[in-house]
Structures are given as structure tokens and as C-alpha cells.
């Protein structure tokens, strides 16, 4: 094992190497590109062997990955922001083909106007299509969740694509201490060849994949995908246990609770937002304020029971959305809609409010987190929600 100070993109590239990926399709877009630069270097230096295809667009990238996976290869691809949007046609058909594509996204605000900042909207708009989605908090988790991704996606009861969504810049480019295991240890957890499955294109066993279906079987195919996604919950739990056995880390599969034991209020959000939250909690706890944070590690599948049971104990839950759904219920964020819905049947449910933070790529600061905590504590005290959805730091 080596302990390196490195970026999320290098950590993910190392996971791809450890997974002995066969086909990689690359196309540049900030801030994810670093992973492809690193993989190209690794292959050029003979560190591992894969077909590295310089694609001519994101559409091409994801079509290449889908069909390489259909031939039985282990694949890796990725994108960011509007690049992910450009890939949407092959993206949305991949889950129905039941091929275990693994991708990385460097979360980036969508155009227009052009923007290098972090926003989660680009991947969250894919939430309804059958991709499993996870959000690491730091480069260590980026490595871990990528390696786990292959094992989850390739499980014969799942066979759905999987994307590791990394906050642009903060995870993709900022260096953190990362434990990178030796190749043999990684392969003890994830063997270089995926488990056998039926839907592999090979002349030894001719079959047709994705013939035109119309209404005769369309419903059943959707239902099978849904079963794959449901199975993914148990498989993810199991894979986390296996990961823990080999590496002694990995955390709980769906959420991680930070200082929640005696907390009156909690914030919940995806990805790197946990970092400023941790700092704000340390400050507020020293003032005796009972605040906590729930880190939402995976958004698809959405572990409703786990999330509901974790959140029901608080007086107020504030959902942090680094994304937005224009014209949605209460004009709020995407994560907010789901958390609120998950808590609906809880008889004594907490108040659920929404903070739109970092929209359009603005930095999410510790000060902003502290301010949110103080507002939420006030709601807990007064029982009064003045504004259900708030835009943090917007100039009006």
C-alpha cells in the first residue's frame, strides 16, 4: 500500500488500472479530463494494458463504452457538464442494454453562459434513466467508490451502469492524502475479469441484443431494469462489507452520519459539501450547538428506508442542493424533492427545508454553512419556517 497526496482524478485512474479495464474512451472537457490524461500516461508507460480510444465526441465515447461492454470488456469512460449532456442519447439507452459501464463525471455547471464551477444538475438530470450514481466526498472515496462500482455494476442481479460524480476542482484537482492499495490487494477484492453473464456478443453464442420491442415487451423490460436497481441496494451493502474486509474502510453504503447522535438539526447533501459542513460543525459544536450532517453518498439507487430512518430523529432537516429543478414542486432542488418525499409517511416527521447553494458554480464556504445551521436552529427553536426554499448568497 502507498499513501499519496493526490487528486481525485489520479485516484480514479488508479482504480481503473487496478480494475484491469480493457477499453477506455476519452474526450476532453474540464474538470474530468485529468483522469484520461493520467490513464493515457499509465498506458504509454506500460503500467497497464487497455485499448485507449481517442473519441471524437461524448456521444461517441459513451457509444464506444456501451458496445465494448456488450462484447464482455470491462470499460471506463467519463465526462462533465455539457459533455455529459451531449452524451445523453447513448447514456440513456445503456441501462436498458444491461451492460456494466462505469463512468466518472467531474461535476460542472451547465452552459449557458459558460462556467467552470461545480453544480450537480448535469448528472442529476440523468437520475431517472437507470444509472447508479454516487458522490464521493474526497479523492479517497473517489478511489473506493470506483473500485466498488465495477463489482456492483457487474453483479449478475444488477447489470446497470454506474457513475462516480466528483465535485469539479474540489475533488478532481485538489490533492488529498489517499491510501492506494497494491494491485494484488485490489484484485483480491475485484478480479480482473467480470463474472459471466448471458448478454455478451460473441460468435460462440449468437444472440441479438436490443431488437425492436414496441409495446409487446417494453413494460417488462422497464420492470427488469427496476428489479436490477432494487437488487443494487442489497448488492451495494454486500460490496461495502467485502470492501471493508479487504481494505478496512469504505464507510456505510448509502449515507454517513457526522455528529448526529444528539443533534437537533441536520443538513444533508451530496459529495464535497460535507467538507465545509464538517468545519462549520466543529465551530458550532464548540459553542454548544447540537448540529449534525448526513452525507448522502449514493443517490441512485436511493436507499429510502435508510435515509428515512436516519433523518426522522431530527427536528429540522435542511437539504443542500447544488442543483436546481426549474418549476418543480416548491421551486426547489432535486435532492430536496426526494428527501421530502421519503419522509412523507413518517408520522412525526421533521421539518424539511431547502437551501440552494453553490448554484452556477459559486464556492460553498464554511461561513455559508454556519449561517445555514444558525437559521435551521432557529426553525427548530421557533417551529416556524419563514421560507421553505432559500437561495444562498444570491444577489437580489
Amino acid at each position: 500500500m502507498v499513501k499519496l497526496i493526490t487528486t481525485g482524478t489520479t485516484a480514479i485512474a488508479t482504480a481503473v488500472k487496478h480494475a484491469d479495464v480493457d477499453v477506455i474512451s476519452a474526450y476532453p472537457i474540464r474538470p474530468y479530463t485529468g483522469v484520461m490524461n493520467e490513464l493515457a500516461r499509465m498506458i504509454a508507460d506500460g503500467e497497464f494494458d487497455a485499448e485507449y480510444i481517442v473519441a471524437d465526441s461524448e456521444h461517441t465515447q459513451f457509444e464506444i463504452a456501451k458496445h465494448a461492454a456488450a462484447c464482455g470488456a470491462r470499460v471506463f469512460t467519463g465526462s462533465a457538464g455539457i459533455g455529459w449532456a451531449f452524451a445523453h442519447e447513448p447514456l440513456v439507452v445503456t441501462p436498458a442494454d444491461r451492460v456494466p459501464v462505469v463512468a466518472m463525471v467531474g461535476n460542472r455547471a451547465l452552459d449557458d453562459p459558460g462556467n467552470f464551477g461545480v453544480e450537480h444538475t448535469e448528472t442529476l438530470i440523468t437520475r431517472d434513466t437507470g444509472w447508479m450514481m454516487c458522490w464521493p466526498e474526497n479523492p479517497q472515496e473517489a478511489y473506493d467508490l470506483t473500485l466498488m462500482g465495477y463489482k456492483i455494476a457487474e453483479d449478475p442481479s444488477v447489470l446497470l451502469p454506474y457513475v462516480v460524480c466528483c465535485d469539479g476542482n474540489f475533488i478532481t484537482h485538489v490533492r488529498f492524502p489517499v491510501d492506494l492499495p497494491d494491485m494484488e490487494v485490489a484484485r483480491e477484492f475485484l478480479p480482473p475479469t467480470p463474472p459471466p453473464r448471458v448478454n455478451v456478443l460473441h460468435p460462440d453464442k449468437p444472440l441479438s441484443i436490443a431488437p425492436h420491442v414496441d409495446y409487446y415487451w417494453g413494460t417488462e423490460i422497464r420492470r427488469q431494469m427496476e428489479e436490477g436497481m432494487r437488487n443494487a441496494i442489497e448488492v451495494t451493502k454486500r460490496v461495502h462489507e467485502e470492501f471493508y474486509k479487504v481494505f478496512g474502510r469504505g464507510g456505510p453504503p448509502f449515507i454517513e452520519e457526522i455528529a448526529t447522535e444528539d443533534a437537533d438539526v441536520a443538513l444533508i447533501g451530496l459529495g464535497g459539501m460535507a467538507m465545509p459542513a464538517r468545519a462549520a460543525i466543529a465551530q458550532l459544536r464548540s459553542q454548544g450547538k447540537r448540529v449534525g450532517y448526513v452525507k448522502l453518498r449514493r443517490f441512485r439507487p436511493f436507499a429510502t428506508e435508510v435515509i428515512r430512518d436516519a433523518l426522522r430523529k431530527f427536528k429540522v432537516v435542511a437539504v443542500l442542493d447544488n442543483d436546481f429543478s426549474f418549476g418543480s414542486a416548491y421551486h426547489g432542488g432535486i435532492v430536496f424533492q426526494e428527501i421530502r418525499s421519503a419522509l412523507y409517511d413518517v408520522p412525526e416527521r421533521p421539518k424539511v427545508v431547502n437551501y440552494l447553494i453553490g448554484l452556477g458554480g459559486r464556492e460553498i464556504t464554511v461561513d455559508a454553512m454556519r449561517s445555514i445551521y444558525n437559521q435551521v436552529l432557529e426553525i427548530a427553536e421557533t417551529g416556524e419556517v419563514k421560507k421553505l426554499v432559500q437561495w444562498v448568497g444570491v444577489r437580489e
Binding site: D20, D22, V23, S25, D49, A50, E51, I53, V54, A55, D56, S57, H59, T60, Q61, E63, I64, A65, K66, H67, A68, A69, A70, C71, G72, A73, V75, E89, P90, V93, D97, P192, T193, L201, H202, P203, K205, P206, L207, S208, I209, A210, P211, H212, V213, D214, Y216, W217
Partner: protein, 309 residues
């Protein structure tokens, strides 16, 4: 090599086995379906085929049924080039790394004219540069026939389509000149060792070209002229005759570009006037004598340039 002979010269050279079988839902007299049958026959059982959305997807395969006896998969309309590139890369990597048995697996990509020359052009160009080993085939029935006959960039000048209907103000129908896809592929990708054109009405030539495209290392390209009774408005029994007339008039030419060397595959002994080809098809019914003359001039110039005349 997967076959006893590369070239198919007589009926005796044609394999008896079918890998694209009956039972699909294409129209009577469908040129593209005939192309599929000949392609699969020529390629044999150690091939896979990936087909973009289009007639040869929608009308060929319905769920739980398939005419393909070789492995087959759907690609998105603009994704065939990428799909075969990914498939070929997968086999290559897995064989090199000892994950699957080392053997020859022929990767064929099939797309219509729209899926090749319009929405799929970028992906095909990318695949041609990739260096992966595959054969990309365009079945050219000169329109988006599956969606109800709309113009593509391979629809010829003067043709009726539902996007280019001749009318009182716009008399001619389609006024865009057919894109020269094979020459674009050949000129733009100097690494590509085999580019060719074929016609379903010249089946031995077509099958030989499929094999040559598969035999050559790296990417290869083949465009097949496939008459379409529905889109071109002719009676189904005329498919083969119309395909032949296209070549005999010079409206379509058969050639190969091997390692950059252009070679005609067939030279009509005496070229027939284009009107013989046009008059059999309802899509050209609105054209008049001066239009025939205009098209004849265009075709004459092209034939001269290619050394047919």
C-alpha cells in the same frame, strides 16, 4: 482467413448457409434486406453485426425474434461507427490480455444513408481513424425510408421525398446534390486501406467486397446502393433491375480504393441514358426533359472523371 476463397466469382463460390434468414418485416422487394442477406452470407459465422437505427433495425428485429443468426446488436442512429469501434477494441484488448481466446472475429457495422452520411458521419470518421479492425457498411437507399421517406444527404438531386415535395413554387423536389460519402471517407482518412462501393444487383461483386473489407487489417468502408420500392416509388419486382440500371446509366458506380489506388469494378459497355433509370421511379415522376438533360450532363461529367467513358 475465415473463408476458402476471398473472391466470389461464380454461383459455386457462394456459401449455401444463410446468416440473415427469412421472417423479418421488411417490404417486398427491399434492397437493404437483400444487402443484409448477402453481407451475412459473405462474412460467415465468425462475424458480429451492429446495426444503427433505421429500416434494418425497426423492420428487421422484433422482440424475441431476429433474422440474424450471427451475434447482432442495435446502435443508436448516429452511433454505429462508435459501436463497431468499441466492439473491435473490446475483442482486441481481451484477446491481447488473454481474457478470451485469440481468433479472428469480424466486426461489421451497418447503417443507412442517414445514419452514415448525416447524423453518424462524425462517429464513422472517428472509427476510420481509430485503427480498430472493422468494416463499416452503408446501405444507401437514398432517404430516411423508415420514418416515411425524408431527404438525407444521400438523396439524389430531383428526388421527391416527404421533406422535399415538388410543388407549384418548388418544382424540383430535392435540390441538394448527393454527398460523395465513399470519396470523403477515402480522401479524409489516408490510413484506411479499403474503401469500396457495391450494388445489390451485383451480388458476387458485393460479397467479394465484404470479404475484402473484412480481410484488410484496420477499418474499411463499403457503401451499397440498395433500391427501395417504398421510398423510390416502384413496383417490388423491379428492385434488381433498377439497381442494375443505376450502374448501367452511371447514376451509381462500382469501384474500389485499395491502399489509395482507385479501380473501377465494372465498366458498362455502353452507358444507357439516365432517363431509363429515372422513368421507372415515381420519385422522379415530376421531372421534365430539361431536368433529364441536366442530370445526364452531371452524370456524363462524373463518368468521364472516373474513367467510365
Amino acid at each position: 482467413m475465415s473463408w476458402e476463397k476471398l473472391e466470389i466469382r461464380t454461383l459455386k463460390d457462394v456459401p449455401k448457409d444463410e446468416y440473415f434468414v427469412a421472417g423479418h418485416r421488411t417490404c417486398q422487394g427491399c434492397g437493404p434486406a437483400l444487402a443484409c442477406k448477402l453481407i451475412a452470407k459473405a462474412a460467415g459465422p465468425r462475424a458480429i453485426c451492429i446495426t444503427a437505427t433505421g429500416c434494418m433495425y425497426v423492420a428487421n428485429c422484433s422482440y424475441n425474434t431476429t433474422p440474424w443468426a450471427i451475434p447482432w446488436m442495435h446502435a443508436q442512429l448516429g452511433g454505429m461507427g462508435s459501436a463497431v469501434c468499441g466492439a473491435a477494441a473490446a475483442y482486441k484488448a481481451m484477446m491481447r490480455k488473454g481474457k478470451i481466446k485469440k481468433e479472428e472475429i469480424h466486426v461489421i457495422g451497418l447503417a443507412g444513408d442517414g445514419g452514415s452520411a448525416d447524423i453518424g458521419l462524425s462517429a464513422i470518421s472517428g472509427a476510420m481513424l481509430s485503427g480498430e479492425d472493422h468494416l463499416i457498411i452503408t446501405y444507401d437507399n437514398e432517404s430516411y425510408a423508415n420514418t416515411g421517406v425524408q431527404a438525407s444527404s444521400l438523396t439524389p438531386w430531383g428526388a421527391w421525398t416527404t421533406f422535399t415535395p415538388p410543388g407549384k413554387m418548388l418544382r424540383l423536389g430535392n435540390v441538394r446534390v448527393k454527398k460523395d460519402l465513399p470519396k470523403m471517407i477515402a480522401a479524409g482518412h489516408p490510413n484506411v486501406r479499403y474503401v469500396a462501393t457495391a450494388s445489390t444487383s451485383f451480388p458476387f461483386d458485393l460479397m467479394t467486397k465484404v470479404r475484402k473489407g473484412l480481410a484488410v487489417k484496420g477499418p474499411a468502408f463499403l457503401q451499397i446502393h440498395t433500391p427501395c420500392p417504398k421510398g423510390w416509388k416502384f413496383s417490388p419486382e423491379l428492385t434488381v433491375r433498377i439497381g442494375r440500371l443505376a450502374v448501367e446509366t452511371g447514376m451509381w458506380t462500382l469501384y474500389e480504393i485499395e491502399d489509395g489506388q482507385f479501380k473501377l469494378s465494372y465498366k458498362p459497355p455502353k452507358r444507357k441514358p439516365v432517363s431509363e433509370y429515372l422513368k421507372l421511379q415515381g420519385r422522379f415522376a415530376h421531372l421534365r426533359e430539361p431536368d433529364y438533360r441536366y442530370l445526364q450532363e452531371q452524370v456524363d461529367a462524373a463518368c468521364k472523371q472516373m474513367g467510365i467513358d
